[in-house]
C-alpha cells in the first residue's frame, strides 16, 4: 500500500505544480482531497484490512492526506502572492501604530530604582512644599548659616507662618521625615522634584529631579557607601566604569564626598563630554552627620550610615546625550519620541 501511496503523492504533486489559477486549484482539491478522492478511498478501505495491518495502513494514509493538504495550502499562498503578477513590496512602511511613551526622566528614575532595589532600597516620596525646619534646620543648616548660600530658595507667601514655607531645594528633607517615623534599619531612595531660585539655562533648571539615598544601621560604613556607588555607576553606565570619591562639604554629612565616574564616552582618556578630564562629576554623598541623627532621635553612638543625592536630568543627559536640561520640560514630541 505504501507504494500505491507514493505513486499517488507524486502524481498529485505534479498536477498541483501545474495548477496555475484558482479554478485549477479548486479542481485539484476536489480530485485529491474530496470525498471521492483516492486518499479518502484508501482511508475508508483500511477497515477491510487484516487487524494487524490496519494500524500501519491507517497512519500511512493519514500522513499522505496531511502532506497533500500542506502542499495545497503552500500552492494556494504562492498563487495568491503572484496574483495579478504583482509582488508585495516589503519596503512599504507599516501603518501608523499609536503607542505612547514614558518620559525619559520617568525611564531614568525607574532604572535607578531598579538598580538600587536589590540592595534593599525602597523608594519613598515626600512633600515638595516644605517647612524650613525639614529643608534646612533638621539637616544641620540653621538659619543664617552661610551654607544656606548653597541652595537658592523659592519662598512661599504664607501669612500665618511667614518665612517657614518654601519649595524644597533638595530631596534631603525626606531623610528626616523617614527617620522620624521609623527606627533603623533604614534603606530608602527618594526620587522627586526639587526647586532652585536660579535662572533657567542649558545647564541649570529652576525645577529638576533628584534622587536621594539613605542607609542607616549600626555598621554601615563609608566603604559601604563607596561600594554602593560603584555598583550604581557600573549598572547604569557599564561594567568598565571606575568611581573616584574625593573630600567635600555638605552640612548634613561628615565625612562628605563628591563622586566622579570615569567618562563613559571616552573611557577616561578625556573628551568633550568630560571636559577633557576623563572624569564626570555624578553625585554628592557622605556619612550622615551625627547631629542629623541626634535631631531625629537616633543615638549617633549606636547608629550611623550614608546618604547620597544626584540629579536625575544629569544622569539622563549623560545616558542619552542630551545637552540642554530644559529639553526635558519642553515636552516636544520629537524629543519624547526619540528617547521613548
Amino acid at each position: 500500500m505504501q507504494k500505491q501511496l507514493d505513486a499517488l503523492l507524486d502524481a498529485a504533486r505534479a498536477e498541483l505544480a501545474a495548477a496555475a489559477d484558482n479554478a485549477a486549484l479548486e479542481q485539484w482539491r476536489v480530485t485529491h482531497l474530496g470525498r471521492r478522492s483516492e486518499v479518502t478511498g484508501l482511508l475508508r478501505s483500511v477497515g477491510s484490512l487484516a487487524r494487524e495491518e490496519r494500524r500501519a495502513a491507517g497512519q500511512a494514509a493519514n500522513a499522505a492526506r496531511r502532506d497533500l493538504e500542506a502542499a495545497f495550502e503552500a500552492r494556494q499562498a504562492e498563487l495568491r502572492r503572484s496574483a495579478d503578477g504583482a509582488q508585495v513590496d516589503v519596503t512599504m512602511p507599516g501603518y501608523p501604530v499609536r503607542l505612547g511613551s514614558l518620559h525619559p526622566l520617568t525611564r531614568t528614575l525607574r532604572e535607578i530604582r531598579r538598580v538600587l532595589a536589590p540592595l534593599g532600597f525602597r523608594a519613598v516620596s515626600g512633600p515638595e512644599v516644605e517647612w524650613d525646619r525639614y529643608n534646612f534646620e533638621l539637616l544641620n543648616i540653621p538659619a543664617d548659616h552661610p551654607a544656606r548660600d548653597m541652595w537658592d530658595t523659592f519662598h512661599i507667601h504664607d501669612k500665618a507662618r511667614p518665612g517657614e514655607l518654601l519649595l524644597r531645594t533638595h530631596t534631603s528633607p525626606v531623610q528626616a521625615r523617614v527617620m522620624e517615623q521609623i527606627q533603623p534599619p533604614v534603606r530608602v531612595i527618594v526620587p522627586g522634584k526639587v526647586y532652585r531660585y536660579e535662572d533657567r539655562s542649558a545647564k541649570n533648571e529652576a525645577e529638576f529631579m533628584q534622587v536621594e539615598g539613605l542607609a542607616i544601621d549600626e555598621h554601615i560604613t563609608m566603604a559601604d557607601l563607596r561600594g554602593t556607588l560603584t555598583h550604581f555607576v557600573r549598572m547604569m553606565f557599564g561594567p568598565d566604569r571606575e568611581l573616584r570619591i574625593r573630600a567635600s562639604y555638605f552640612p548634613f554629612t561628615e565625612p562628605s564626598a563628591e563622586a566622579d565616574m570615569s567618562c563613559h564616552a571616552c573611557g577616561g582618556k578625556g573628551c568633550s563630554v568630560c571636559g577633557g578630564t576623563g572624569w564626570i562629576e555624578i553625585l554628592g554623598s557622605g556619612m550622615v552627620h551625627p547631629k542629623v541623627l541626634a535631631d531625629v532621635g537616633y543615638d549617633p553612638d549606636v547608629y550611623q550610615g550614608f546618604a547620597f543625592g544626584m540629579g536625575v536630568e544629569r544622569i539622563a543627559m549623560l545616558k542619552y546625550g542630551v545637552t540642554d536640561i530644559r529639553s526635558f520640560y519642553r515636552n516636544d514630541l520629537r524629543f519624547l519620541r526619540q528617547l521613548r
Binding site: 512602511p93 501608523p96 533604614v186 563609608m222 561600594g227 520640560y329 515636552n331 521613548r340
Partner: protein
C-alpha cells in the same frame, strides 16, 4: 577664591607642578574649579615702552603713543590715558591674539591693523581684561619698570592662578595661607608663615586709642594698630600683580595692603583716617535711634537697630564688616591710619550684608566665622607690609579689646572609631601623622585620642570631624568597595505606590506620550482655562474673586461641574504664591496641570497635525490652613483633534467616546470596573457644553473629560478642537476594589441576537443598557453597543441604538427556542419601560 600659584609655592616651598597640586587639593576637598594660565595665549605680546605720546589730529578722546618694542617703534591709536612716556606696558602688535573685552563669552580675536579716525593703528596697549588676567577693562596695564623690554609678556608676567570653589565650612581656606597649610600637609612640606614675630619695642604704654565693645556676642575681639607718616600712592608692581591675579583691583597703598593681607591670611582689615575719627575712641555697638551714616559708596543710610556699627565719640563711622564710612575714608591727604582687625558675629554680618545687598570679599569671610586669634596676627603682617612698601611706619598692635577669650575645645575619640565609620583600618602612626601635619595637638590615653585643633580650625568640634581629617589626608582612594549588610526595612513610610507606575504604563499603552511639566505656573495661565468675560478678572486678580466664582458656580455649572471645581479643577482657590518668583510667568504653584498641558499641545501642534495625545502625572498644590498643602497626583491628558486611522494617511476625528474608551481602560486597570462608574453630563466653563462628562463612584468624583470649550482653546491659541481628561488618581485608588476577581463563563456555545431599537433622544444609553441587563438575566452574557443613528430614517427627537446580545447557559447548550424566549423578554422590557420600538 583665586590663588596665584607662585604665592602658594612661596608659602610652602612645594616644587610640584600646578596640575599635581590642583589634583591633590581637589581630592582633599579643596576643589580647583579652574586653572587660569595667564600668558597661555600671549604668543606675540611683548613688554614695550612708551617712547612718545602724540595727540590725535582728529579726536580729542584718543592719543597716539609710539611704543618701543626693543627692536622697532610702532605707533598705535589708544583711548586710555593712564600711562606716561617711559612706562613699560603690555604691547600687542598686529597679528597677536587677545581676549575680546566686549564679548559675553570669552573669545580670542586676532588683532589687525586698523585705521581709527584717519590714523593707522598697528597694535595695541593691553588692559588686564584683554590679557585675560582680570575683568578690569579700565585703563591699560602698566608694568613694573624693571620688566625686560622686548621680552614676551608671558615671561615677565605669566603665572598660573588656581580658582577654588568655596565651601561654607572653612573660613581658613579663604586665604592663601590656609590653602598653603593644606598643600603643605599633603606634600609633607613646612608652611612658611609670612606673619612676623611680635616686636619687643612696643610696650603698649602710649595708648591714644580707646576701644569699647558693647556686646562680646556681636564682636568677640577688636584689635587696632596705628600707622604714621602714611604715604598714599600707587603700590609696587609685585603687589598689584598679585592682587590682580587674585581678582582684586589695586587702588592705593594702604587699601592694597589691607586687601593683600586679607587674601594672604583671611582676616579682613579696615583702615580709618585717624585724624577724622573723633575723640580718639572706637566703639562697636548697634545704633541709637535716628543715627545715620554716609557709606563709602556715597549713600546716606538710616541705620536699623540690628545693624552692627563702628562708632567714634560722636557716632557711626562704619558698618561693621560690611562697608566703611565716607568721612573716615583714607585719602591722599591722610597722614595717620588706624587699622581695624576684628572678629564680628557671623550672623549679624550676614544679615546686614544681605539686607543691604552689600556682600563683599570681607563680609563673605566674616560670615563664615573667623577665629579671634587671627586679629593681632593680621595687624602685624599688615603693618609689616605697609612698611615694606614704604607707605608708612606703624605699631604692630596699638590697642586690643578681647573681653572673653576662648580656646578651641579638644575632641576625644577612640582610635577604632575611625575604622568603624570608614570601613577601613588606619595605622595609629598614619593617624598621628595626618593630624600633626594639619597642626592638630595630640594626646593619647591608651585607645583614646584627644585632639586639639589649631585655632583656625573651629569647624572641627566632633569625632566625625576628626575622622574626616584623617580620611581625606590619607586619601579617599584608601576606602574599599563593600556593600551594606544586615537587615532591610519592614515598612517604608511614604513608599511610592507601584500603581503610579502602572497608570503611566497604561496611558503610554493607550497611545499617550508622557510629559513632565513645570509645577510653577502663573495665575494668568490658569485663568485662561475659563472664558475671559466670565470672571470679570483684573490683571491683579486674574483668577477673579469669590463673588465672581459664586456666580459662575451658580450659572455656568451643574452639580458635576461644582464637584469638579471643589478639587480636581479648583480654579476658585487661592494658589500658593511665591514670595520671590523668577518672573510673573511662574509666580504660583499649579492648581491644575491643564493650562500647561494645553500649551504643550499647542506647541506640538506646530510640527504635528495628528496623534497629539499627551499626559502629565505630577502633583497639584492645594493650600491647607496652617499646614503643608495637599499635593495630590492628578493625571492630566490632552488630545488633539485628529488621530491616525487605518492605512497610512487616514485620520479620524476624536469624539467623546474616544476619550471615554481611554477613561474606561485606565479606571478598569486601576481597579474600578467600567460597570461600577457612572458617567454624567458635566457643565463647566472649561468644557464645551454637551460634550463633557463627569465620572463618579458612589458620588465621589474620579474623573472628568470632554471637549475643551472653544473660547478656552482659542485662549491657548488652538484653532481646532481639543479634548481633555482629568483624573483624580488618589480618588480612583480609594474607589478601587483591588485586584480583579475571576468569574467563570459558560463553556457552551452562545446564541447571538442583534437588536436595534428606536427610543426618545433623552433616553440614555446607560438606561437602555441597564434595562437589557436586568431583563436578560440569567442567560444574557453581554450586550455590546455597535451603532448609534440619528437622522432621516427615523423620526425627529428619536435615536436608534443597536446591540449585539449574547445568551448562554452555564450547564447546557441553549436551544433556539430558549434563546428566543430570553431575547423576547429583553425586547418587551425595552418596549414597556423605555417606550422603545424595534427597528427594521
Amino acid at each position: 577664591m583665586r590663588v596665584p600659584f607662585e604665592w602658594l609655592c612661596e608659602l610652602t616651598g612645594i616644587e610640584a607642578s600646578v596640575d599635581d597640586v590642583a589634583t591633590r587639593l581637589t581630592n582633599a576637598g579643596f576643589e580647583v574649579g579652574a586653572i587660569h594660565r595667564a600668558g597661555e595665549h600671549w604668543d606675540r605680546i611683548v613688554v614695550g615702552e612708551v617712547a612718545r605720546i602724540d595727540s590725535h589730529p582728529n579726536a580729542d578722546r584718543l592719543n597716539l603713543p609710539t611704543v618701543n618694542t626693543g627692536s622697532e617703534e610702532i605707533q598705535v591709536v589708544c583711548g586710555a590715558w593712564n600711562f606716561e612716556v617711559g612706562d613699560r606696558i603690555a604691547f600687542a602688535p598686529a597679528g597677536a591674539r587677545l581676549w575680546d573685552p566686549y564679548a559675553d563669552e570669552p573669545v580670542l580675536k586676532e588683532l589687525k591693523p586698523t585705521r581709527i579716525r584717519g590714523v593707522v593703528s598697528r597694535g595695541m596697549l593691553c588692559s588686564t581684561k584683554e590679557l585675560g588676567i582680570s575683568d578690569d577693562h579700565e585703563g591699560i596695564l602698566v608694568l613694573d619698570p624693571d620688566a625686560p623690554l622686548g621680552r614676551p609678556l608671558a615671561e615677565a608676567l605669566g603665572g598660573e592662578v588656581l580658582e577654588f570653589e568655596l565651601k561654607a565650612n572653612r573660613p581658613d581656606a579663604l586665604s592663601v595661607l590656609g590653602i598653603a597649610r593644606e598643600a603643605a600637609a599633603l606634600y609633607g612640606a613646612e608652611v612658611r608663615s609670612p606673619i612676623p614675630d611680635e616686636r619687643p619695642s612696643e610696650d603698649g604704654s602710649s595708648r591714644p586709642v580707646e576701644l569699647s565693645i558693647d556686646d562680646p556676642a556681636l564682636c568677640a575681639r577688636y584689635s587696632a594698630a596705628l600707622v604714621h607718616d602714611v604715604k598714599v600712592g600707587e603700590s609696587p608692581a609685585w603687589m598689584r600683580d598679585r592682587l590682580e591675579q587674585a581678582g582684586v583691583r589695586p587702588i592705593s597703598t594702604i587699601v592694597d595692603a589691607t586687601n593683600y593681607v586679607m587674601l594672604e591670611l583671611g582676616q579682613p582689615l579696615h583702615a580709618f583716617d585717624w585724624e577724622t575719627v573723633r575723640g580718639g575712641f572706637i566703639g562697636v555697638r548697634t545704633p541709637r535711634p535716628g543715627e545715620r551714616l554716609v557709606t563709602l559708596d556715597g549713600q546716606d543710610r538710616e541705620l536699623t537697630p540690628e545693624t552692627l556699627c563702628i562708632v567714634d565719640a560722636k557716632g557711626p563711622v562704619a558698618l561693621a564688616g560690611v562697608m566703611g564710612g565716607l568721612d573716615t575714608e583714607v585719602t591722599d591727604k591722610t597722614s595717620t591710619v588706624l587699622l581695624e582687625s576684628a572678629t564680628f558675629d557671623p550672623i549679624s554680618i550676614r544679615r546686614t550684608a544681605h539686607r543691604l545687598n552689600l556682600r563683599s570679599e570681607a563680609s563673605r569671610r566674616f560670615e563664615k566665622g573667623l577665629p579671634p586669634e587671627l586679629t593681632v596676627l593680621a595687624l602685624r603682617r599688615c603693618v609689616q607690609v605697609i612698611e615694606e612698601i614704604g607707605a608708612g611706619r606703624g605699631e604692630f598692635l596699638t590697642a586690643d579689646a578681647y573681653p572673653a577669650p576662648s580656646d578651641p575645645t579638644p575632641v576625644s575619640l577612640a582610635f577604632d572609631r575611625i575604622e568603624r565609620l570608614m570601613g577601613v583600618a588606619y595605622d595609629r602612626s598614619e593617624v598621628r601623622q595626618a593630624l600633626s601635619a594639619l597642626e592638630f595637638g595630640l594626646e593619647e590615653d591608651g585607645d583614646e585620642l584627644c585632639v586639639t585643633p589649631p585655632f583656625w580650625r573651629r569647624d572641627v568640634s566632633a569625632p566625625a570631624d576628626v575622622v574626616e581629617e584623617v580620611a581625606r589626608l590619607v586619601g579617599y582612594e584608601r576606602i574599599p568597595d563593600t556593600l551594606p549588610t544586615g537587615q532591610v526595612m519592614d515598612v517604608a513610610p511614604g513608599e511610592i505606590d507601584e500603581r503610579d507606575d502602572e497608570a503611566r504604563d497604561v496611558m503610554a499603552g493607550l497611545g499617550f506620550a508622557e510629559c513632565v511639566t513645570y509645577a510653577l505656573t502663573s495665575e494668568a495661565r490658569m485663568a485662561r482655562l475659563v472664558p475671559p468675560d466670565l470672571l470679570d478678572a483684573s490683571p491683579d486678580a486674574p483668577l477673579g474673586d469669590a463673588d465672581a466664582w459664586a456666580a459662575v458656580r451658580e450659572t455656568a455649572m451643574n452639580d458635576a461641574g461644582r464637584t469638579l471645581t471643589d478639587r480636581l479643577l479648583p480654579l476658585d482657590r487661592e494658589p500658593l504664591r511665591l514670595r520671590n518668583p523668577l518672573s510673573m510667568e511662574e509666580n504660583a504653584l499649579r492648581l491644575t496641570g491643564l493650562g500647561t498641558m494645553l500649551e504643550t499641545l499647542r506647541a506640538n501642534r506646530r510640527h504635528a497635525d495628528r496623534d497629539l495625545l499627551l499626559f502629565d502625572y505630577q502633583p497639584s498644590f492645594l493650600a491647607r490652613d496652617g499646614d503643608l498643602p495637599e499635593e495630590p497626583n492628578f493625571l492630566t491628558a490632552v488630545i488633539g483633534e485628529r488621530v491616525s486611522a487605518d492605512r497610512w494617511n487616514e485620520t479620524g476625528t476624536v469624539e467623546l467616546p474616544f476619550v471615554r474608551g481611554v477613561v474606561d481602560e485606565l479606571l478598569a486597570r486601576s481597579g474600578v470596573p467600567t460597570d461600577q462608574a457612572s458617567h454624567d453630563d458635566l457643565q463647566h466653563p472649561t468644557f464645551a457644553a454637551g460634550a463633557a462628562a463627569a465620572v463618579t463612584v458612589e458620588g465621589r468624583l474620579l474623573a472628568a473629560y470632554g471637549e475643551v470649550d472653544a473660547e478656552v482653546a482659542a485662549a491657548f491659541d488652538l484653532d481646532e478642537r481639543a479634548w481633555a481628561l482629568l483624573v483624580d488618581m488618589p480618588a480612583v485608588r480609594a474607589a478601587s476594589s483591588g485586584a480583579p476577581s475571576f468569574s467563570a463563563w459558560s463553556e457552551y456555545p452562545s446564541a447571538l441576537r442583534d437588536l436595534a431599537i428606536i427610543v426618545d433622544a433623552e433616553v440614555t444609553q446607560a438606561e437602555v443598557q441597564e434595562t437589557i441587563q436586568r431583563a436578560g438575566r440569567p442567560l444574557l452574557q453581554s450586550a455590546r453597543l455597535f451603532d448609534e443613528y440619528r437622522g432621516e430614517q427615523i423620526p425627529a427627537g428619536k435615536r436608534s441604538l443597536a446591540y449585539a446580545l449574547s445568551y448562554a447557559a452555564p450547564d447546557r447548550t441553549l436551544t433556539d427556542k430558549q434563546a428566543d424566549r430570553a431575547h423576547n423578554r429583553v425586547v418587551r422590557a425595552l418596549q414597556h419601560r423605555l417606550g422603545a420600538e424595534l427597528r427594521g
